[in-house]
Symmetry: C2
C-alpha cells in the first residue's frame, strides 16, 4: 500500500512510483494531513485488513511516515488503533514500512516513534516500539527541491529542537554526544535559510536532510536521556489548534529557555550559545542570554511567527493546555528543569 | 566458538563468559596476535569446519574481531581463506559473529572490514563485505579498565587516524560530516591521555570507546569517500616489521601532513588545526603548520615514538615497502593527494 501527502502528485514522484510498482497490486491512502490524525490511521488500518496488505510504502514527511507506522502496527492488532498509543505493550506485530522521504524534519525515517493526534480527545501522543523502525528509507535530497519555503523552515526548526531537547539534559559526561549534537545544530543554522532561498541547492538540502535523520535516530541521546521539555508543550498546541509543529516549537523554544535560565542552567546555555552560534561572551549568564537572542534571530530569519496569537492560539485554553502538557509527558518528573502546570502556563503567557 | 587474545584470562572476563555459555558446546581459539595472521585464520577456519561451529564470539579488540570475521567467511568457503582477501566476490556466506569489545581502536565492532596479515607474502590487506558486520557487539567501557597504557595510547592514535583519513578528502560540501568528524577528533584529543592516567575513569573510557565505534562505522564517510593515505603505508610497515599499528600511524601521520601541505591542502589542514586543536592563527598556511605540530605534541603526550628507527623499522626496506604501499592501495590514484612510489619513499625517509 502507498501512503502519502498531496504534493508528490505535483512533483512527478507519484507517477514514478506507480510506474515502478506497475506489476504489483497497490492500494492508496493519499492526503495524510500534517499532525496526522487517528481517523486517517483508522482508515488505513481498515484498508490493510480488507485487502491483506503486505508492505506499506510511506512517501512523504514525518506525518505520512508516522501514520504509516501506526497503521502498520494496527493492521496486526484486533482492537482499536488508539489502544496501541495508550499501551504500547499491546503492539505484537507490524507490517514492514518502507519510506521515500520528501520532507526533512522529524527523523521518523530512521527511528521507531510515531506521533498521532486524536481529534476527539485533543491528545497528540507518541507510540514508540522497536517493530516500528522503517525497514528501509530512501533519502534523496533532490526530492526536497519542490518543498515550499514554509515547510523547509518549519522542518529546520523541528530538527534544531530535537537536538536541543537531547542536548539540554543534566548529564555532562557524555562529551562526545554533546559535540556531535553541536555539529548537527551548527549544520541546521548554516543551511536552513539557504535551502529556503535556493530550493535546488544540493549542498543545503543534503546537509539538512542528513541532519534531520541523525538528529533523531538515537545517536544524540547516547549517555544523555531524560524527558523532553518543549515538544510536550507544543504537542498540546498542535492537538488543540492544529498549528504546524515547527511553528509552535519556534515560538515556545526561546520562551522556555528564558523561563528555565538560572545559575544551574546558565553554563550549558552559554556553551550552546558559544558552540552553535559563535557567541564570544565569557560570562555564562550573559552568553546564555545572547544565545536565546540568537535563537530568536534564527527563527525570525526563517520568517517564523514569534507569538502564539500570530499562530492563532488563544489564551482561553492556556490552563487546560498546560495541565494536559504535564499530564501526558515527563516534563514535571524527568525533564532538564522540572516544570509544573503553573510553570507551563507562565511560559504560554510569555508567548502571548 | 570463542576467539580471543590473552588478556581476558587475567581480567576475569574469560571465566564470566565460560560460565554464561556453560550449557553450550564451545571451542576456543585463544591467542590471536596483534596484526592478526593468516595462519590464525586458517587454524580457526579448520576448527569451524571440523566442529560445525554455528556462531563465533570475538572477545577482544580489532585483531580478534578481524580474525573472527575472516574465519566466519572462510568457514563458508571451500577454498583457501586468503582467496577471499584477494577477491571479495568469492565471499558467499559467513557465520554470525558477536563481539565483546575489550580494546577500543579499530571500530571493527560496527563495520564490515577486517585487516589480515599474510606472513609469507608480507601483505597486510583488507577484506570488506556486508556479510562481515558483527550481528551484535557489547561495548562496556568498564572492560577497558584493565587495558594497559600503551594499548590505550595506540588505540587513541588509531581512532584519530581513521577520522583524519575520512576528513582529509577533496569534497568540502559534506559540511555535516566534517563537523561530526571534528567532534569525534576533539573527543579523542580530550580523553586519550586521561584514560592512560586514570584507567578506571568511566567518562574517559566511555567517550573513547564510542569515538572508536563511530570513528569507523561509515557515519563519517557520508558525502566524502576517496582512498586513504596513511593507513596503506602503515599496513606495509606492520606487515614487514610487525609493529603496533597505532605506533606506525603516530610516526607517519605528521610526516604525511608535512609532505602534502600545499596551497591546495592548507585551508583544510588549517581548519583541522583550528577546530580540533583550537589553533587561533588566521593565516591558513601558518595554522596548518601549527596543526601538524599539535599532532606531534599529542603523540608525544601519549608517549608514542616519533621515528621509524625507534620502532625498529630499517631504511633498507624503504624502497620495497613504498612500492608495496602503492601497489596494494588507492594512494596513487584516489587519495586526497595522490602519491607515487618516490613520494612514499620520501615520507618514510622523513620519518627515519
Amino acid at each position: 500500500m502507498y501512503i502519502g501527502g498531496g504534493s508528490i502528485k505535483r512533483s512527478g514522484l507519484y507517477d514514478k512510483i506507480r510506474e515502478l510498482f506497475k506489476d504489483f497490486e497497490v492500494s492508496e491512502l493519499p492526503g495524510i494531513e500534517p499532525n496526522p490524525k487517528l481517523t486517517s490511521v483508522e482508515k488505513g488500518t481498515a484498508i490493510c485488513k480488507e485487502k491483506g496488505i503486505q508492505v506499506i510504502l510511506a512517501v512523504g514527511g514525518g506525518s505520512t511516515i508516522d501514520a504509516s507506522k501506526h497503521i502498520a502496527a494496527s493492521a496486526c492488532y484486533d482492537g482499536q488503533p488508539w489502544d496501541l498509543v495508550k499501551d504500547r505493550s499491546l503492539v505484537a506485530g507490524a507490517l514492514p514500512v518502507a519510506v521515500v522521504l520528501t520532507i526533512c524534519a522529524t527523523g521518523s525515517e530512521m527511528n521507531s516513534g510515531a506521533v498521532i493526534s486524536n481529534e476527539k480527545t485533543h491528545e497528540k501522543l507518541e507510540i514508540n516500539h522497536p517493530l516500528l523502525y522503517p525497514r528501509l528509507s530512501f533519502c534523496d535530497p533532490t526530492y526536497l527541491y519542490t518543498l515550499p519555503s514554509k515547510q523547509t523552515a518549519a522542518g529546520a526548526v523541528d530538527i534544531l529542537s530535537h537536538v536541543m531537547e537531547q542536548y539540554f539534559q543534566p548529564n555532562d559526561e557524555a562529551y562526545i554526544t554533546d559535540v556531535l549534537s553541536e555539529a548537527v545544530m551548527k549544520t541546521v543554522v548554516k543551511y536552513a535559510r539557504k535551502a529556503m532561498d535556493e530550493p535546488e541547492n544540493y549542498e543545503a538540502r543534503s546537509n539538512l536532510m542528513w541532519a534531520s535523520t541523525i538528529g533523531l535516530n538515537h545517536l544524540l541521546t547516547v549517555g544523555k536521556g531524560g524527558a523532553w521539555s518543549v515538544h510536550p508543550i507544543e504537542h498540546v498546541l498542535s492537538a488543540y489548534y492544529d498549528i504546524t509543529h515547527g511553528v509552535g516549537l519556534a515560538i515556545l523554544t526561546p520562551a522556555w529557555m528564558e523561563y528555565v535560565l538560572s545559575d544551574k542552567t546558565a553554563p550549558r546555555f552559554a556553551r550552546f550559545a558559544r558552540e552553535v552560534f559563535g557567541v564570544g561572551e565569557a560570562d555564562d549568564r550573559k552568553a546564555a542570554r545572547l544565545g536565546i537572542e540568537k535563537v530568536r534571530q534564527f527563527n525570525r530569519s526563517l520568517a517564523m511567527p514569534s507569538t502564539l496569537s500570530e499562530a492563532g492560539v488563544l489564551e482561553e485554553k492556556f490552563d487546560e493546555m498546560a495541565a494536559e502538557a504535564v499530564r501526558t509527558s515527563g516534563i514535571a518528573s524527568r525533564a532538564y528543569v522540572k516544570l509544573q502546570v503553573p510553570d507551563v502556563k507562565n511560559i504560554l503567557m510569555n508567548c502571548k
